[in-house]
Amino acid sequence: MSEAAIAERMDAILTAHQGLEGPLLPILHAVQAEFGLIPAAAVAPIAKALALTGAEVEGVISFYHDFRRTPAGRHTIKLCRAEACQAMGGDQALARIEAALGLKLGESRADVTLEAVYCLGLCACGPAAQVDGQPIGRLDAAKVAAIAAEVLS
């Protein structure tokens, strides 16, 4: 996408968030929803609109795990690595997913991104994951195979 096209969409996002108290996180979420990541060309317009320096905006972007600077795969799998899921065989679930996808935790390909997440609130039906926002519990071999078949198709 050209810088001019980004600037145009940025104008619309910044206008939509005028009047909010402390609008930076809502703006960054909107930017990521629009572009799939936070483009470098988005930083300057945000900084200008909020009377911040570019470094301050970069600092906020880099603080939060959610904000991406590189594109994610077509599908995103978030696997819970926290204690309640570990207690139910979370390590085995991770090994199965990594093997099925041919991808390590934290890695990304054009088709799929595999991320760690620390708790999805599905702690009584672990191990748990979120596939493109959809919750999945009791992640056994069959469910891992079904997920892999879907995202790799």
Partner: protein, 508 residues
């Protein structure tokens, strides 16, 4: 014909959407007019998806329900293989004291009519009639303490904000429920969002605040969607707006979504995040009650604290205070999780023992192996051995045993758990999530994981070093992330020394 199929994220994670679709399809094929209501979860996660059929005698439960079970539901519900009888009579459910969660799973979450028919808005109406000071007195008299973990008396916090002079005040709901083993905030927001909205409106009225925020974590997309819908409906109905319920003061609530930082569950970090900054922790004082969001007096309360308030206003402080023991009054929604047979949400009065929760209510481990350790209070909570099972579930009693109640999540581990690995995970997690502001947490967590690696490699001299490091983190950290990470580490080391020693022997 009315059938309930939960849309709670845990029920959906176990196939509730496919179940709802199968029931709808089956009904259509048979030409039966069926109304499928996507309610919240009753909290019995091991029975999810838990389908309920409305009958003259009450709601009958079926679970765990599979899409293939749909046909039998229409053939002969009485003899259905998944039939569990009346939901209200299921022992796990019947034994509870459901105050905060009374409507969760019972009603259609985004139906205001359903909400009001089940007692909703009565608390807010009484609060409007009483006026601010009487509401503050009522909340103080109830003995309600912060359910997010710190256990600070809610009435005192509200009184402080109410008394602080300012042009603007805020009510901030902390819905950044990042602790592993906790899901009560999520369940309440997905199952009864108006209860939270009502609680916040009462807080606004009592404290003289006209603006509220809900800071909800991005890991909960379902809760975000439900609360967003509920806020829109509440505005339309005049519960929120320029005059609460048409006659009260102005109160508006804005939903804000977090961005994956665990530390933002800490109240000052959350406030910085709301303001659009890095979610680093602020030093206290000043207290957020005096200088919070945008430097204004701010109530920061957990979802469960705010959601307890409508019941307290409706039924009175004395009724709430009558439940519980010692300085822990009212009910606590326990979240029983991890390797446990009957996992789910169980709301009960304070005072039930840890052993009752794990063995009696939870039914022991899901794997059938012996319980080794129970982590109470999230990733910053201690690992308790079976020797602690007579401990009553209360703030002071747990603190006295080197633990914490936290957000009342319990994660059960069976005897296959490697406590050294879990201790290392606690340090590694702290290193990942540290905001970086204070040195004991930022550096200590990294060194902590390295030191545990040394123990794992057989270096016994690293044990006193780890203890010393934990002491530094406990005393020197700015917030609970660095300050409480030593709890799981030291409790693992103290109660399960074999897990730290066997690595040494194996190395020798």
């Amino acid at each position: 014909m009315k059938i309930y199929v939960p849309a709670d994220a845990a029920a959906r994670a176990l196939g509730a959407d496919a179940v709802a679709a199968a029931i709808a399809k089956e009904a259509a094929q048979r030409g039966i007019d069926v109304q499928i209501i996507r309610n919240g979860s009753r909290g019995m996660i091991w029975l999810e998806p838990l389908v309920e059929l409305e009958t003259a005698a009450g709601r009958i439960a079926f679970g765990p329900f599979d899409a293939a079970d749909a046909a039998a539901l229409f053939d002969a519900p009485e003899t259905h293989p998944r039939a569990l009888g009346l939901t209200d009579e299921i022992p796990y459910f019947k034994r509870q004291t459901r105050l905060t969660f009374a409507r969760v799973g019972l009603i259609d979450p985004t139906s205001l009519a359903d909400y009001e028919a089940h007692g909703g808005l009565a608390g807010l109406r009484r609060a409007l009639a009483l006026g601010p000071q009487a509401v503050l007195d009522e909340v103080a008299a109830s003995g309600l303490r912060g359910r997010g973990g710190a256990g600070f008396p809610t009435g005192i916090k509200w009184q402080t904000v109410a008394a602080a002079p300012a042009d603007r005040k805020y009510i901030v709901c902390n819905a950044d429920e990042g602790d592993s083993g906790t899901f009560a905030d999520r369940m309440l927001i997905e199952g009864d969002p108006f209860c939270l909205i009502e609680g916040m409106a009462i807080a606004g009225l009592a404290c003289g605040a006209t603006k509220g925020f809900v800071y909800l974590r991005s890991e909960y997309p379902d809760a975000i969607a439900v609360l967003g819908r509920a806020l829109g409906l509440a505005r339309q109905a005049g519960i929120l707006g320029d005059a609460v319920l048409g006659s009260g003061p102005a109160f508006e609530i804005e939903l804000r979504v977090g961005a994956g930082a665990y530390v933002c569950g800490e109240e000052t970090s959350l406030l910085n995040s709301l303001e659009g900054q890095r979610g680093v922790v602020r030093a206290k004082p000043p207290l957020p009650a005096l200088e919070g969001f945008m430097g204004r007096p701010t109530v920061v309360n957990n979802v469960l604290s705010l959601a307890a308030v409508p019941w307290i206003l409706t039924e009175g402080a004395a009724a709430y205070k009558a439940i519980g023991i010692n300085r822990s009054r009212g009910t606590i929604p326990l979240q029983i999780a991890g390797n446990v047979r009957y996992g789910g949400l169980f709301e009960t009065g304070f005072g039930v023992t840890l052993g009752e929760i794990v063995n009696d209510i939870g039914g022991g481990t899901a794997s059938g192996r012996p319980v080794k350790a129970v982590q109470v209070g999230g990733p910053l909570g201690a690992y308790h051995p079976q020797a602690d099972f007579d401990l009553p579930f209360c703030y002071e009693e747990f603190a006295g045993q080197g633990g914490l109640v936290g957000h009342a999540g319990l994660v059960v581990h069976d005897d296959s758990a490697d406590m050294l690995a879990l201790a290392r995970f606690a340090m590694a997690f702290c290193a990942i999530e540290s905001c970086g502001k204070c040195t004991p947490c930022r550096i200590g967590a990294v060194r902590g994981a390295e030191t545990i690696d040394r123990i794992a490699a057989g270096d016994a001299a690293a044990v006193p070093l780890l203890k010393d490091l934990c002491q530094t983190m406990k005393l020197g950290s700015l917030c609970a992330l660095g300050g409480f990470t030593p709890y799981p580490v030291l409790s693992a080391l103290t109660h399960f020394p074999d897990d730290f020693a066997c690595h040494k022997e194996a190395a020798e």
